[in-house]
């Protein structure tokens, strides 16, 4: 036990000594949370579309006003003598609405008036939104101008639970929190571990007859503390700036956080032990800690959206379970019944990382 603590103290001293490491450990996660938490947003507004009104009648003006009233779309006037596709290619607008001549006349006659909507499909998400909003506006215009009104047998009354304002901050905040924990503690752990090999300090450790378990646990404990420190700091931000609150029983969240700290610290130590070069270890952690968690854990895109061929991979991404636990604790409040097996998954993954690290280090000898 004493050696484990000695190891932990040494690691913490080294972290505190180097202000770059310390800021990497504590400030960057906060920065990441603030930046990504507020910057990522899938609700769009003010999408520019140009309108070319070839009819210039009162009916066409009414129709255009309906578009102007929308928060999502932003109407940019476009002269009649310019080609509307130029607005798309020059990125001045994401869509172009063209109202042909005789639009007003056709409406007055009660016959079907045609309008054309060109949408920039290069960003599929935005294109879908513009198309959707445009047809909604058109429907509303039809209803208001006394077109054919059908009886509506079913009417939905929608309520948004857990995040009533559908604030994307509340959705992404917990995700970025997990991302921060998945990235920085293992990064520091792997660098510290690889450095021992690079600077040959590992020889002093080998010669001291400390066991592999003591050595690894000491290191892991140090970086668990770093992870938990980060977690506390980021939680403060989540509860204040992001306006989140604990929903229901917090114990699964607390236990899972400690286990997750163990899991990511072990991951870092495992990588550092296997790759005794700081530059290479950094790449490995960046791939595992950042890319996989970012893409395959349901942080931004629902896991069901991942192509089926790759979806199974997400079952092995440790961040995925923790994200679900954190979202549950802060939004849904499902408690133990909803999360117990996820907590176990995290513990199991951590144990696997630890076992692999131990396998590399078990002999505590120079490899030859």
């Amino acid at each position: 036990m004493r050696r484990i603590l000695a190891q932990t103290r040494k690691e913490l001293t080294q972290i505190v000594r180097d202000y770059r490491t310390l800021s990497l450990a504590l400030l960057l996660p906060i920065f990441l949370l603030l930046l990504l938490g507020s910057a990522i947003s899938l609700t769009v507004d003010d999408l520019p579309i140009v309108v070319q009104d070839l009819d210039n009648s009162s009916a066409s003006h009414d129709y255009i006003d309906a578009f102007r009233a929308s928060v999502t779309l932003h109407v940019v006037p476009w002269p009649v003598d310019l080609k509307p596709e130029d607005a798309l290619t020059s990125n001045q607008a994401r869509g172009a609405l063209i109202i042909p001549v005789y639009f007003g006349r056709d409406i007055a006659r009660g016959s079907v008036a045609q309008v054309q909507l060109l949408v920039d499909g290069s960003d599929s998400n935005t294109a879908r939104l513009i198309a959707g909003y445009s047809s909604q506006i058109t429907q509303a215009y039809n209803a208001a101008s006394g077109g054919v009104v059908r009886a509506q047998p079913v009417q939905t009354a929608m309520r948004f639970w857990y995040n009533p304002g559908r604030s994307s901050k509340k959705f992404y905040g917990p995700g970025i929190f997990v991302l921060g924990l998945s990235m920085f503690p293992p990064l520091l752990a792997s660098l510290a571990m690889a450095k021992e090999g690079e600077q040959k300090t590992i020889l002093q450790v080998y010669v001291s007859s400390i066991s592999a378990h003591e050595f690894l646990l000491g290191k892991i404990l140090a970086f668990m503390l770093v992870a938990l420190g980060e977690a506390v700091l980021m939680c403060v931000l989540l509860f204040t700036y992001f306006g989140l609150n604990l929903a229901g029983d917090p114990t699964p969240f607390l236990i899972a956080t400690v286990l997750y700290a163990f899991c990511v610290a072990s991951f870092g130590v495992m990588v550092g032990a296997a790759i005794p070069s700081q530059a290479a270890a950094l790449q490995a952690v960046a791939l595992g800690g950042f890319l996989l968690v970012f893409l395959l854990s349901g942080l931004i895109y629902p896991i069901s959206n991942i192509p089926a061929g790759l979806r199974w991979l997400s079952n092995f991404i440790w961040g995925r379970y923790y994200i679900e636990i954190v979202r549950d604790a802060l939004l849904q409040g499902g408690g133990w019944p909803a999360t117990w097996y996820k907590v176990l998954e995290i513990a199991a993954t951590g144990a696997i990382f630890y076992a692999l690290a131990w396998r590399t280090m078990r002999r505590m000898q120079v490899k030859a």
Binding site: R2, R3, L5, A6, Q7, R9, K10, T13, Q14, R17, D18, Q199, K200, T201, L203, Q204, V205, Y206, V207, S208, S209, I210, M364, Q365, V366, A368
Partner: protein
């Protein structure tokens, strides 16, 4: 098979004890197909300082790692106190070749960590650390980051950290590489002290003056032990005498005598130093006759022939020769000569001063090095040597003063292309790219230094053969042992045949044989007119220079030829043989000035300002007073190291301090 020549009498001569501290029997270590250690056997008695000497790649580090229990042997026995080395790690202290403590922890944090790992009680760590730090004169540095210590301090810290768990065996793998002479002597004084307290020490060193301070020495070569014995036994096993020859034209004298020398000839070996030749001969009288005859015939005037004992270095080289391992010399494919420049000033500095803030690193330095001259810049760590070199070759702008380099003064900028083409620089730290192959490194440097296209191949081949790496050009440079890297780096620095050559500790970590090849090459370049400015920590090596400058705290405190510097030394060197050398040394250190006393194996060296007779009488009386017997006392001759240490200490007493203490 290992054919170990155990010199008769050695077995009985080891310190008394029935169980050896270290016992090695037929130890082998293979790395794949490479046999690093090929069945070595030896025993080290408790309290013995046992030196392991051998060229780079002899298998010393592998042996150390096995004995430290951090690597498995392929086969054989490696016992420490009759138990396998792996199980006795708790009793072993191990200093690795490179500094292996944490540079980002302070001195006391490092000690605390190592102590904790070894289950030393917390209050014991504290008190032992204090004791050893005080012993090594490092008490005031306990809160300094280890990374900010000088090379010598780092090694002393490593030693303290290794000692805190109170090990029974110390394994030191080239502990003094890059350590200045003053610290080196302190380090070895400390080792002698520890051994007299019963600690067993196994030490590897490439420096044979250090091997003189061991009780017994083993020569290791290609994974086998060639010879084991006390230093004096090894020296006398050669059955030769050494003749120091001082003559008017050393270069020609060397050439003539080299042709005469050979294993079966009267003169078996010729080695050139800065102002003398060393000759080895079985029959000194015959040799002296031969030398006089030859020199007369060539019209070279001989100023002195002095008879002396061979050094361990001589023994080492001779042993390697006997087993057929000779540095085969491939002649350097010289295409350009600078002979016509000889005598002109190549490097000149006037009132050279460098200030970093309020700290004056170099103060008012005057320096002139002519083409064809080898100039040695000596000094402790932090004396300002590297700063001086950097200013001289234009990497650093001096605060004040003028620099003249290769015919251009600073106004023309020493950094100009034309000037750079004419200088070669081998720095202490950076030399080669570790992640390139040797071939790629050489190609790169040939390109940067503008070696003509048609000369590149022969130059590259020469570097490979000089380094003993023929056919290995595709190895990654980082995988080479330090000494080999140094050889390649040296070769790379002279490929473009510079007329001015700066060498910043070129031979640190290089074995004696390779060092000799270095100096042969340096001498040859100087003969062709190249001006060479070299720094070194190894004063035996400084003897190779034509002129020396000793720096303390940024100033020259002595300058001149090696013999001149020694002759101007005031005071006398006295050699004592006493019955309890360590106790006597401790006593005399406390009674007088610390630096005046040092212990060489079983002999005490004392530097005294009084006349030799008086000093011997006084010291003898002192020692008799505490019940010790003086068995022998005589005046000895100053080595350059003695001079260096007394000059530095005297300067220190006058208030000049190295930057380390700032």
């Amino acid at each position: 098979m290992a054919t170990t020549t155990t010199i008769p009498g050695t077995l009985g001569g080891t310190p008394e004890s029935s169980t050896p501290a270290i016992r090695v029997r037929d130890l082998r270590k293979n790395y794949g197909a490479i046999q690093a250690v090929r069945g070595i056997s030896m025993e080290v008695a408790p309290g013995e300082i046992f030196g392991l000497i051998g060229p780079d790649g002899a298998g010393k580090t592998s042996t150390f790692q096995i004995l430290a229990g951090v690597m498995e042997a392929t086969s054989g026995v490696a016992d420490v106190f009759s138990r396998p080395a792996r199980e006795t790690r708790a009793q072993t202290g191990y200093l690795t070749q490179s500094f292996s403590l944490y540079p980002d922890l302070t001195v006391s944090e490092n000690i605390r960590y190592i102590g904790d790992l070894r289950h030393v009680p917390a209050d014991e760590i504290e008190s032992r650390a204090q004791r050893y730090l005080w012993m090594f004169d490092m008490g005031r540095f306990s809160n300094r980051l280890a990374g900010k210590l000088s090379g010598g301090m780092k090694q002393k810290l490593s030693l303290v950290a290794a000692l805190v768990p109170e090990p029974h065996v110390l394994l030191l793998d080239e502990p003094t590489t890059g350590v200045d002479p003053v610290s080196r002597r302190e380090f070895w004084d400390a080792l002698a002290h520890l051994a007299s307290d019963g600690l067993t020490i196994l030490v590897a060193t490439p420096y044979l003056d250090e091997a003189e301070r061991c009780h017994r020495v083993a020569f290791m070569h290609l994974g086998e032990l060639q010879q084991i014995g006390t230093p004096s036994e090894l020296r006398s096993s050669l059955h030769v005498k050494r003749l120091e020859l001082r003559a008017s034209d050393l270069s020609r004298a060397e050439k003539i005598l080299s042709e005469e020398s050979g294993a079966r000839e009267i003169i078996s070996d010729v080695q050139r130093f800065g102002d003398r030749l060393d000759l080895l001969a079985r029959d000194p009288l015959q040799a002296e006759e031969l030398v006089n005859r030859e020199m007369k015939a060539a019209g070279i005037s001989v100023s002195e022939i002095r008879l002396a004992d061979p050094t361990l270095e001589n023994t080492f080289v001779a042993t390697l020769r006997n087993i057929g391992h000779e540095m085969h010399e491939t002649p350097f494919p010289a295409r350009h000569t600078h002979r016509e420049l000889k005598g002109q000033i190549a490097i000149g500095a006037e009132q050279l001063t460098m200030q970093f803030g309020s700290f004056t690193a170099v103060n008012n330095l005057q320096l002139q090095v002519r083409y064809g001259e080898i100039y040695g810049l000596l000094g402790a760590n932090g004396a300002g040597k590297t700063t001086t070199i950097k200013m001289l070759c234009g990497l650093l702008d001096p605060t004040r003063g003028k620099v003249q380099l290769a015919g251009a003064d600073r106004a023309q900028s020493a950094r100009s292309q034309a000037v750079r083409q004419r200088i070669g620089y081998m720095s202490q730290k950076f030399s080669l790219y570790d992640d390139l192959t040797i071939e790629e490194n050489l190609e790169f440097f040939a390109g940067v230094y503008g070696v003509p296209e048609d000369e590149r191949r022969e130059k590259r081949e020469w570097v490979l053969s000089f380094s003993g790496l023929e056919g290995k050009q595709d190895l990654i440079t980082g995988s080479l042992p330090g000494g080999w890297k140094q050889r390649v780096a040296f070769g790379a620095a002279i490929m473009h045949e510079p007329s001015v050559l700066f060498l910043d500790e070129p031979t640190s970590g290089v074995d004696p044989l390779a060092r000799r090849a270095f100096w042969t090459m340096i001498n040859r370049l100087a003969d062709e007119g190249t001006a060479v400015l070299v720094t070194t920590h190894y004063l035996e090596e400084a003897e190779q220079c034509n002129r020396l400058g000793l720096m303390v705290a940024g100033e020259f405190v002595a300058e001149g030829s090696p013999s001149g510097v020694k002759a101007r030394q005031t005071g006398h060197l006295l050699e004592f043989v006493v019955d309890q050398p360590q106790k006597a040394a401790d006593f005399l250190k406390l009674a007088g000035e610390r630096w005046r006393v040092s212990l060489f194996g079983d002999r005490l060296h004392i530097i005294s300002d009084a006349s030799p007779e008086k000093a011997i009488a006084a010291t003898t009386a002192q020692l008799n007073g505490i019940g010790m017997n003086v068995l022998e006392a005589r005046e000895g001759r100053f080595s350059l190291e003695d001079v260096f240490i007394s000059v530095v200490e005297r300067a220190r007493l006058q208030g000049k301090v190295a930057s380390d203490d700032a």
